[in-house]
């Protein structure tokens, strides 16, 4: 097994104040403000994208809302801007470090995934660093899916870019991938709803030490 992952974003200088020192035993820092804002803005853009997609695609919603030009413009721009928070986040060292962690699969991730497939939820069969294998898989999948959606979306937006058969194909991919993303996003949100401490991590930036040791035993904050 590879050595435990370390968090490159940790800043050892800046002596903590008394209160923080006390809390430090109980709370550990998980995300910097920059990382939380990347998540927040991405989530908002994704939300707008999904809502407008519903108003464009589902007949009941489309008939209720109408205003096609406005809805199309909002959908196009929220979709096009979707990768921007992540790209802007690259300016943050902590965010880059987390991306590196997300992008690297180790042998313990295979153990985690195998246990997940067997629905084995015992902590000892779910070894994970700062991010578990499920989070890594989700991050890789959604990043690729968003780029595919942007590419096929641009083909439909700028009808002069490509011949008609490409647009028909792009529509096909865009529609089916949209449905898949909807399901996967519902899973992502459902899992967050079931895990208050994970949500607290993204909301406040810190998590309880007890949670970190149980859910991410290989993480050394």
């Amino acid at each position: 097994m590879r050595p435990p992952e370390t968090d490159a974003s940790k800043t050892p200088d800046a002596a903590p104040e008394a209160g923080e020192r006390l809390a430090g035993a109980l709370r550990v820092r998980r995300f910097t403000p920059a990382e939380r804002w990347v998540h927040r803005t991405t989530a908002i853009l994704m939300g707008v994208c999904v809502l407008t997609a519903g108003c464009l695609y589902l007949p009941q919603l489309a008939e209720l809302v109408g205003r096609r030009e406005l809805v199309v413009r909002v959908h196009e721009w929220s979709g096009l801007l979707l990768p921007v928070p992540v790209l802007a986040g690259l300016a943050s060292r902590a965010f880059r470090a987390d991306l590196r962690l997300l992008n690297r699969f180790g042998p313990h991730d295979r153990v985690w995934l195998r246990s997940a497939l067997r629905r084995d939820a015992r902590p000892e069969s779910r070894p994970a660093g700062k991010f578990n294998a499920g989070q890594k898989t989700y991050a890789a999948w959604i990043a690729g899916a968003v780029l595919v959606m942007v590419a096929t979306g641009l083909l439909m937006w700028f009808t002069h870019l490509a011949p008609l058969v490409w647009r028909t194909s792009a529509t096909f991919v865009h529609d089916w991938l949209a449905l898949t993303i909807g399901l996967v996003l519902a899973g992502h949100i459902g899992m967050a709803l079931a895990r208050p401490e994970s949500r607290r991590g993204l909301r406040t930036g810190s998590v309880s030490r007890e949670w970190a040791e149980r859910e991410h035993p290989l993480w050394r904050p």
């Binding site: 890789a140 009808t159 647009r167 792009a170 096909f172």
Partner: protein, 223 residues
């Protein structure tokens, strides 16, 4: 992530084949589906509801009127019954949206636009026809030559049913050889003009001469 990108490109490349297979599979599944859930799945073989306004008034047998005016000798108004009394033409073609979706082999039925134009007596100074809609916002236009084509209908029926409100009923334009944005829904006015005035989407970037495959992109096989 790279895997997803590869899958996406592969999806676009193999879409024509995949789509045909899925359409026939979903088509047969939908026939046996009591829940109606298959209706929510993406299917290239379905129409999508487009409206550029927030709400569209409903017109029926009594309230519907089609006005013909402009550079004609006999301006006039047709009721739904008037239009039904005229000879009807039925055509079966693919409906093709400029953004890519298509509905294969869709029957349309209605009065040839050329018949209405002849009845109104188009003046020699005329060069184009402008269409307006009772949604209050949409408009379209054709050159006079395009408007006189035999495959341009003032359509009353689609898929062998009276055109319903969501599909632009009771009367919509059907311009078979062009992208579907030319086939204005909720048609209420035909004005003969001297020059072509760009329609709603054309002022927003789409081509005025919207031949399928020969506009809004590169050359393709026409439908």
């Amino acid at each position: 992530m790279l895997g997803m990108l590869g899958l996406g490109a592969l999806g676009v490349a193999t879409a024509p084949t995949l789509q045909r297979g899925l359409e026939s599979f979903l088509g047969s599944a939908a026939d046996k589906d009591p829940t109606g859930l298959t209706g929510l799945l993406p299917n290239g073989g379905g129409f999508r509801y487009y409206s550029v306004t927030s709400s569209v008034p409903h017109k029926d047998e009594d309230s519907y009127r089609l006005k013909i005016d402009g550079l004609v000798d006999h301006p006039g108004t047709y009721t739904l019954a008037d239009l039904r009394a005229l000879p009807q033409t039925r055509m079966v073609r693919d409906v093709q949206c400029v953004t890519g979706w298509r509905v294969p082999d869709t029957p349309f039925e209605g009065v040839r636009l050329s018949r209405l134009l002849d009845a109104a007596g188009v003046r020699p100074s005329a060069g184009a026809v402008r269409f307006t809609c009772f949604d209050g916002a949409y408009s379209e236009s054709l050159t006079l030559d395009q408007a006189r084509r035999a495959d341009v209908l003032v359509a009353l029926r689609m898929q062998d049913k009276d055109i319903n409100h969501a599909h632009g009923g009771p009367v919509r334009l059907y311009v078979a050889p062009m992208y579907f944005y030319k086939s204005a829904k909720w048609l209420s006015g035909i004005t003969v003009t001297s020059d072509v005035r760009p329609g709603y989407w054309e002022e927003r970037g789409y081509d005025v001469d919207a031949w399928v495959g020969r506009s809004n992109g590169r050359d393709d096989e026409t439908t």
